[in-house]
Assembly symmetry: C2
Amino acid sequence: MTRSLTILGATGSIGRSTADVVLAHRDEFRVEAVVGGRDAAALAEVARRLGARFAALSDERGGETLKEALSGTGIASGAGQSAILEAVARETDVVLAAISGTAGLAPTHAALKAGRRIALANKESLVCAGEAFMADARRLGVEIMPVDSEHNALDHALAAGLNRDVEKAVITASGGPFRTWSKERIAQADADVASAHPVWSMGSKINIDSATLMNKGLELIEAHHLFGLEAERLDVLVHPEAIVHGLVQWRDGAVTAGLALPDMKVPIANALRHRERLQMDLPRLDLAAIGRLSFDRPDEERFPCLSLAKAALKAGGAMPTVLNAANEIAVEAYRAGRIRFYDISEMVESVCSTFSGRRLSAPAIVADALEIDREAREAAMGLMPAHA
Amino acid sequence: MTRSLTILGATGSIGRSTADVVLAHRDEFRVEAVVGGRDAAALAEVARRLGARFAALSDERGGETLKEALSGTGIASGAGQSAILEAVARETDVVLAAISGTAGLAPTHAALKAGRRIALANKESLVCAGEAFMADARRLGVEIMPVDSEHNALDHALAAGLNRDVEKAVITASGGPFRTWSKERIAQADADVASAHPVWSMGSKINIDSATLMNKGLELIEAHHLFGLEAERLDVLVHPEAIVHGLVQWRDGAVTAGLALPDMKVPIANALRHRERLQMDLPRLDLAAIGRLSFDRPDEERFPCLSLAKAALKAGGAMPTVLNAANEIAVEAYRAGRIRFYDISEMVESVCSTFSGRRLSAPAIVADALEIDREAREAAMGLMPAHA
């Protein structure tokens, strides 16, 4: 059966992998719309390759370029906020939501409100506005399928039992480039070194989050919302080979785990079809050839961002929104060479403690989340060293 | 909700572990009947501990001893074949079938025919008469839950998808005591050395089967019947730590795995309740503390019994029944010091090739399986060295 699909963030890394999956299964998918950010040429290219019916560019200035690039193809196009909303409003079975950052919140939420099944790759939707998203998903009966390899693995593992029998759901961390480094050495490392992720090739911001382990902290917050598990039932395990992505420990002592070679096409394919799996022409996991898998506890002393994220998850309310916003600003400053590695966690901690007195409740609508996000970014900016 | 339970093989290793599970969950289980082999005192003891209503001893000669040992307890008892059938006929939710060897076939099948849910620990039921068992289970709508840690792990992993999307189901082998030995050294090892299993403490026959890897071959045959997977979709992986017990590779490249510390109480608890898991007061798997898991391909050159079992599974018909019978005789002879290690596989191969010409179809009823079993044992006995 052919499923129709709209891709938000079609020109990014996840969007391109999704295009590969779709092109390998032309009979199974029909692409309704593709949405991109600023690169009109790249968006036109992916729209043509996928035979999409509609292409929407976020940046209004690229609208003409996009239109020209698609002339004669029969693919309709538009630019700006209204075009994105038009793309999302088009009837489709699944929306793959892969616009990165807080920019992804509004379009993803619009797709959810339209009742579309969501294959979710945008972390911020759940980190910043998890309560709002999940409440709407429950109310509308919309299924949210995680595209992250960790959450996708947990989703598989959770099929082996009931939520109430879960003692612990564990996501793994490759450990990033600083896994074996001393704290003193990490403190001196600049953003270029921190960006060199040992396993995944991702965007640079997300690579820094992997180096600080904030990435795993944010994933714990996502897991909390996706699977309805409290902070006490969530944990992180360091696993450099990045083969085991998630594990569920049951109350009878058994453990169910999700594994795969680190290739985003695996969780993407799964999120698009869920329990009915696609035939994927990819190398298979060969544990005998790999030989060994290793595991370690994360060191929250060297990677304090993980502690901060755990604390924000435990604190609840708007704290995860604040944490995420402060982290974005801090990572940006680190990448620009304005602050050092451990300034990231100090800045995040400082912003979180500023907000903790206000005891803000969890944003009930996306607009509230975006407002708290804005405030927290401002607070983080205020902490930036004057000399930089 | 309290479930009633009958335990076949209550005085054996699995039976005793089952008693531990039941005693730790007095509110959840009521024991209807316990069945033992020859040890009347041990059976009376377990019947009393569990507060069973009925105890049946296979060996008729122990009937009086059992009766005396239970006098005043209100626990009824009996001995011999009829008593076992009486035990099986008693109304109960689950029958844990853990009588070992072909002796377990008839009582297990009687429980199945009575429509009881089966928690199956008796390998031979499926190895010798898999078609008969599964056909009756399907016809009567009876659920068969595997107690083996490998099959229990596969059962969990298979929950993450559809059977038709399974590319491969893999069970792991610790590798036995000869995992790292040369063929020459293995050839000289006697049964005492072969019985020293590195992970599991089991009966001696099953320990020899672990040393030859025949155990894994028989488990492949079981998996074939339990999960409806052909020989081509089943495989074995060596994993000395015995933490990962089974893995399912899906056609999208993802893998779902079942893990647990090697303790039979985990799969027993799961088989008794299935998806609703019991709270078990056991040590939890701590991968960070374990540090590493290792994997290797099984060496069918050093462990030819695995090849023989795979060939028997592929050949189908009565060949698995023949293989199992020949192996039992050969292992007995090896344990008695009458033959050497590699005589086991040679004897099994020889008996299998004798029968292969007859192209016997798979036994459709248990009596046929037992008849083929008897013939194959005779053929194996005929191959025994005269000097021994």
